[in-house]
Amino acid sequence: MSSSTSSSNRRNAARLLLRFIAFTALLGLCLPIILFLSGLSARGGRMGTAFAKHARLAALAEPKLVLVGGSSFQYGVDSPALESLLGRPVVNMGIQGSIGTEYMFAEVEPSLKAGDWVVVALEQAHFYNLDPEGETALYRAASVYPSGVRHLTHAQWLHLPQKGWVAALGNLQDAQVTALQLAAGRETYAAQSNAQGDYIGHRDRVSAYRPASTPAVGDISAHALEVLSQFITRAERRGACVMVSHAPIAASAVTDKVLADIDEAVAPLGPISRASDYRFPDSYFYDTASHLTYDRRIERTTKLAQDIERSPRCH
């Protein structure tokens, strides 16, 4: 092959490569726009509940009780009852466990004031890194509630190109559900919450939970414990008091050993309850192994209130 053909090959290949790089860069630039627009369209979905929760978190002047966890809080506590039992206003910040502990803690921390109480109830998935969605839910949360973007860590920003697109699809699916709900004259997901931030859309609905196989777990994640421990330290610097509790879990979805391991792992943090205290019969659960039915929330709420009252930690 002549050298002129060869150099023409290289020149043309370089031209194609440059075009491809330009296209990829343009595609990359589209991601934040698509995420933002899809987030805007998904505000009627679950992630959209963040607006009301944050508004309440910022507005409450008196010492408050902040519930930090995943959907086991959103679906599994009766905050008005908790307010009555404890005599202080409650903000339920639980949305979805897949958002991850770093973001969950980071989004409440700036609003904590002296005298505030925080109850943290992590889920089995947090302790064992079982989250099936990776960081997709995190990017969905931050795109629907854009103020949350500032809480993303450097590592989470780096993973955005990989997971951000899937997050946008999740937003669009939420937007579709919202549109169908509105078209059918029903309330959107975000509108089906009470003032404290509890989801109440499952009232009058019976348990549809079907036990699945118990997930296999490895070792407890040291990272989850470290993040929790650091949050406790930072919150206490602000004068708030953090209590570690546990998420409800369906009896068939967890083994005794897992609960014992979780208890042992969080023991140095002075938890206010044992993990096994929140293991309930399968029939108490609504659609997943951590979402209580509307009626069964009161049992968890009462137990939680008792644990808080009995604990010397914040009194």
């Binding site: 092959m1 050298s3 290289r10 490569l17 075009r19 699916q173």
Partner: protein, 477 residues
């Protein structure tokens, strides 16, 4: 290694850069690079099976060289037999041995004879049905003197293992692909750009269409007895588009990817769901396999130019049944092949099997009512075949087909259904508008900004759906 994963993106980029910027002008080095990249691509899945790929290459290269110096018909036949035994032996051992044993045990049990022979229990090497057929075609072509045997072992290894089409086709003929490895390459930027566009279209079909159709199809086929009649219909229609998007998407990616390296692979799909009869369907579906069987089985058997109609029918049945069983070691595949033979034979008997050679509604925007009815009827017949193809056993096929009539009638309401139907409609519309092209993004006549907007939209849709990362269906064949 899957096409829609990061490791493949890295492998493709590195190979492209080395191929054109470092090794350009040195075809033997370029071929060697392709061999290395292909072995990494294949070994990524399971490096142990690289030995099969190598063994298949060595066997047929050696047979080819021996045929070159052999003139005695007996010796030439013996050499061809070695290739056939070697390649088909690999297939029989890895793919069919346990199936034959299980069938034997079941048949013996029918006579109250209880056998318990040892089973191999080996996993099926990915792509074995594709590359063994490819090497076989080389040996047969050399034997027939349709092709001069190559003396360049590296070029031959590259032909056998060429990574874009190694594990799911198109099944390339040596007469088309091997000479391309023996020629100097020049980078045709227009061809390469079109290759990228075809890859994009392939990714869209696989990741967006096929993987969106898969959940509903899987759900319905997992428990057909529990489904309503509309769900059974939707289940098989979704499977029809799942397998089409999956397999034709793979082929588009393969063909497009090959173009980046200056190679032209054969077309494997030509809008098969716009076919007006089963004959046309088989000229448009998995073209590389159907033409392989035509050239290496049907024609040697005598094809349709035989003395009696019964022999012609036998030849058709043999080809369709072999084609069915090629897809997998299960009676359902055999019956799937036989079913298509049953549909094809009447057309052949009335000389209508080549009635539709031209593109449907060529030069017109819409089909006539008669054409539309023929397309819908053919699609419905193909879908009945897909039930045979997808079901786990014959009992499940019976349950499924009975359900079309007996199951309750309630319309499904879920986003998966709405979205799937919308995506299928969009795909059909885009492909209908492009049915005179090789793929819908070929030679786009839109303005630059529109073109880039379409590419960005298809890329974004593909990236959004990447979470599934389902493997390609045809990997299991």
């Amino acid at each position: 290694m899957l096409f829609h994963t990061l490791p493949f993106a890295v492998l493709l980029s590195a190979t492209f850069a080395l191929y054109w910027f470092v090794l350009d002008g040195r075809k033997r080095a370029q071929n060697a690079l392709i061999v290395v990249a292909s072995y990494i691509f294949y070994g990524w899945w399971d490096w142990r099976f690289l030995s099969l790929l190598l063994a298949s290459s060595v066997l047929d290269y050696a047979v080819g060289r021996a045929l070159e110096t052999s003139t005695a018909p007996g010796r030439r036949k013996a050499l061809l037999s070695i290739s056939l035994t070697g390649n088909l032996g690999l297939l029989a051992t890895f793919k069919y041995y346990d199936f034959f044993i299980d069938s034997l045990v079941t048949a013996a049990a029918g006579f109250d004879i209880h056998l318990d022979p040892a089973r191999l229990g080996w996993i099926l090497p990915v792509g074995i049905s594709f590359y063994t057929f490819q090497t076989l075609s080389y040996a047969v072509d050399v034997y027939r003197r349709d092709l001069a045997p190559t003396r360049d072992f590296i070029a031959f290894m590259a032909y056998v293992s060429f990574f874009p089409q190694l594990v799911a086709g198109p099944i390339e003929r040596a007469t088309n692909l091997l000479p391309q490895f023996e020629r100097d390459r020049s980078f045709d930027i227009e061809l390469a750009k079109d290759g990228l566009r075809q890859m994009l279209w392939g990714f869209f079909k696989k990741v967006v269409i096929a993987d969106s159709c898969a959940p509903l199809a899987n759900q319905v086929f997992a428990a057909p007895a529990e489904q309503s009649a509309p769900m059974l219909v939707l289940g098989v229609v979704f499977f029809a588009f799942q397998i089409y998007g999956d397999f034709s998407g793979y082929s588009d990616i393969a063909v497009g990817c090959a173009r980046l390296f200056g190679f032209t692979l054969m077309r494997n799909f030509a809008y098969p769901y716009f076919s007006r009869d089963i004959g046309e369907f088989w000229r448009r579906w998995h073209i590389s396999l159907s033409t392989w069987f035509r050239d290496y089985v049907y024609v040697p058997l005598g094809g349709s130019r035989v003395s009696t109609k019964s022999k012609a029918i036998r030849n058709v049945a043999v080809v369709f049944i072999l084609s069915g069983i090629w897809h997998g070691a299960n009676w359902t595949f055999l019956f799937w092949g036989a079913y298509h033979a049953l549909l094809f034979v009447p057309l052949m008997l009335i000389n209508r099997n080549r009635a539709h050679l031209e593109i449907v509604a060529a030069g017109r925007r819409l089909p006539t009512l008669a054409e539309l009815l023929r397309i819908i009827t053919t699609f419905a017949l193909v879908c009945v075949g897909w039930v045979l193809f997808r079901a786990r056993d014959i009992h499940e096929v019976a349950v499924y087909l009975r359900g079309f009539v007996n199951a309750p009638w309630s319309l499904p309401q879920s986003l998966v259904v709405y979205n799937g139907v919308a995506l299928i409609t969009a795909l059909v519309a885009m492909e209908w508008g492009s049915r005179e092209k090789l793929h819908p993004l070929e030679r786009p006549s839109w303005r630059l900004s529109t073109r880039w907007a379409v590419y960005l939209a298809l890329s974004a849709a593909t990236l959004m759906n990447m979470a599934n990362q389902d493997v390609f269906i045809y990997f299991q064949f």
